[in-house]
Amino acid sequence: MASEHRLRIKTLIMVLAMVVCANVGDLMLKRGMTQIGAVPLSLNGLQHAFLLTVTNGTIWIGIFFLTGFMLSYMTVLSWADYSYVMPAGAFGYALLTFLAVVFLHESVSPRRWIGVVLICVGVLLVGQTKPRTTTEVAREATA
């Protein structure tokens, strides 16, 4: 069915956008906060840290990507099942492991590799199911 195929493709694109935006956003926030350093838990310290975060370019890049994540998440949920999108999003954990090995040359324990394999098989299984199982009629009733 052509429309089913189209639905699958656009869901896949949005889930990929979600995963990339969430991971890049988190990475930028972490990098920005590392530049700022440990935040002292005093009124002065918090005030100072707040000023440093809102003037830090890396933090804003992170916020930009996390906004992109939220937008793609909302958009994909407007047509796809929650129970389809949620497990598919876990692909990010597998992706992060690959990135850590390739770019950061981190060593990865066998236990973590088993986890990555389980996530990939799980995401493939969920990916095979129909992205949307609720009907338009149900949508109108809830609108």
């Binding site: 909302m74 949920l77 407007s78 929650y82 129970s83 497990p87 986890g115 799980g122 949508r139």
Partner: protein
């Protein structure tokens, strides 16, 4: 230990119920006519006017703060595997609250993802 379990329950229940409320709101909003910037902006405008979306946001914020507090009490290698329970709780919510159809393949996938996330985060 008891406070860990309680906060974990708050975390899992708030994150899944928040996401379920947002899903419900987005389904009611209806998908953007096409995936072009203008159509997506119009969609966003409609979504921001939806009450279910605004019910979901504070729940997700509460889940985020419980995660931060839990992370300050326990190591991440305990917190993330434990919170992977959300995948199973979220799927139950999708079935019984949103009326989604969970086939055997989808259940199997969810359980594998849940176990996989737990193993990856445990190191």
């Amino acid at each position: 230990m008891i406070r860990d379990v309680l906060l974990l329950a708050v975390l899992v229940l708030c994150s899944t119920s928040g996401e379920i409320a947002i899903t419900h709101g987005m389904k009611a909003t209806g998908e953007p006519a096409r995936l072009r910037p203008m159509a997506v902006l119009q969609f966003l405008g409609r979504a921001l006017g939806n009450g279910w979306f605004w019910a979901g946001v504070p729940l997700m914020a509460l889940a985020f703060y419980s995660l931060l507090v839990l992370l300050s009490w326990e190591p991440i290698s305990f917190v993330i595997p434990a919170s992977a329970l959300s995948y199973v709780v979220g799927t139950l919510g999708a079935k019984y609250i949103l009326g989604e159809e969970i086939s055997v393949a989808r259940w199997a996938g969810v359980v594998l993802v849940c176990a996989g996330v737990a193993l990856v985060a445990a190191g």
